[in-house]
């Protein structure tokens, strides 16, 4: 069993996190979920990684990228793994 390249730090029932999950699923990306504390002040693991205590946050070993904010993450995933960018509008 190899570990997925992408680790998603998430909070249960957080809609911003689910938004990122939808994008990961849409691109069929394998990821490992790590669930953190509802209490913002206790999320030191996320703070150490991204500099902020907000979730979602992802770490992508494949590219060395760590980032937070769902809109940024979705844009990053589209840019990196989406069809169309590298394949210039390749067929669906």
């Amino acid at each position: 069993m190899s570990e997925p390249d992408i680790t998603l730090y998430r909070l249960q029932a957080c809609p911003f996190c689910e938004r990122v999950v939808r994008t990961l699923d849409a691109y069929d990306l394998d990821y490992q979920s790590r669930f953190v504390e509802p209490m913002h002040a206790d999320r030191d693991v996320v703070k150490r990684l991204s500099g902020k205590r907000t979730v979602p946050a992802i770490v992508d070993e494949n590219t060395g990228v760590t980032m937070s904010e769902s809109a940024n993450i979705v844009a990053y995933l589209e840019r990196t793994y989406g069809e169309g960018e590298e394949t210039a509008g390749g067929a669906a």
Binding site: M1, Y9, Q32, S33, R34, F35, V45
Partner: protein, 169 residues
């Protein structure tokens, strides 16, 4: 325990024995900062020795006693020691904090008691409709999940022989 009445006897069960390979499972494993799905196989692969401790739900006094004892004996210095109970990850985080074992011990969360069922050590709880949990049990495993030591409670409540287990570590 030295009591002047009989405690509850548990029926004999066909649980995994020394020399068997412990069945693999994957459940959320809770540490001091987060939880993530983790398999027993990967835990074992990363350690020479894993101690798997099935205990009563977090908050029940046997869970408190067992973790106080393991903490005081510093088993984490000699093995990877993990608990399993039916409590949720949120409750596990609280147990880690309250027993002051954060950083040294981790807990698998198994609310549906499926791991105990896999190991044939599930038991119903009288007076708590719809809830079952593992009977108290301890398995010491090597890196291939071979069981080096097995103890499963035959009465309720019951506690492991800590010295016996420690001799295996």
């Amino acid at each position: 325990m030295d009591l002047d009445f009989d405690v509850v006897d548990l029926d004999p069960v066909d649980h995994p024995e020394e020399g068997d390979t412990a069945q693999d499972f994957t459940r959320p494993l809770v540490n001091e900062e987060f939880w993530e799905d983790e398999s027993l196989a990967s835990l074992c692969a990363d350690s020479d020795r894993v101690v798997l401790v099935f205990h009563a739900m977090d908050g029940a006094f046997p869970a408190t006693y067992i973790w106080n004892e393991i903490r005081d004996r510093s088993w984490h210095e000699r093995a990877t020691v993990v608990g399993v109970s039916i409590s949720t990850p949120y409750e596990h985080k609280q147990l880690l904090e309250e027993r002051e074992i954060e950083g040294n011990y981790r807990l698998f969360s198994d609310p549906a008691n499926g791991v105990a069922q896999q190991y044939s050590i599930d038991m119903n709880l009288d007076g708590m409709a719809g809830i079952e949990e593992p009977r108290p049990a301890v398995f010491v495993l090597d890196s291939d999940r071979t069981i080096e030591y097995a103890w499963v409670a035959e009465e309720w409540p019951d506690f492991p022989d800590y010295d016996d287990i420690e001799a295996q570590l």
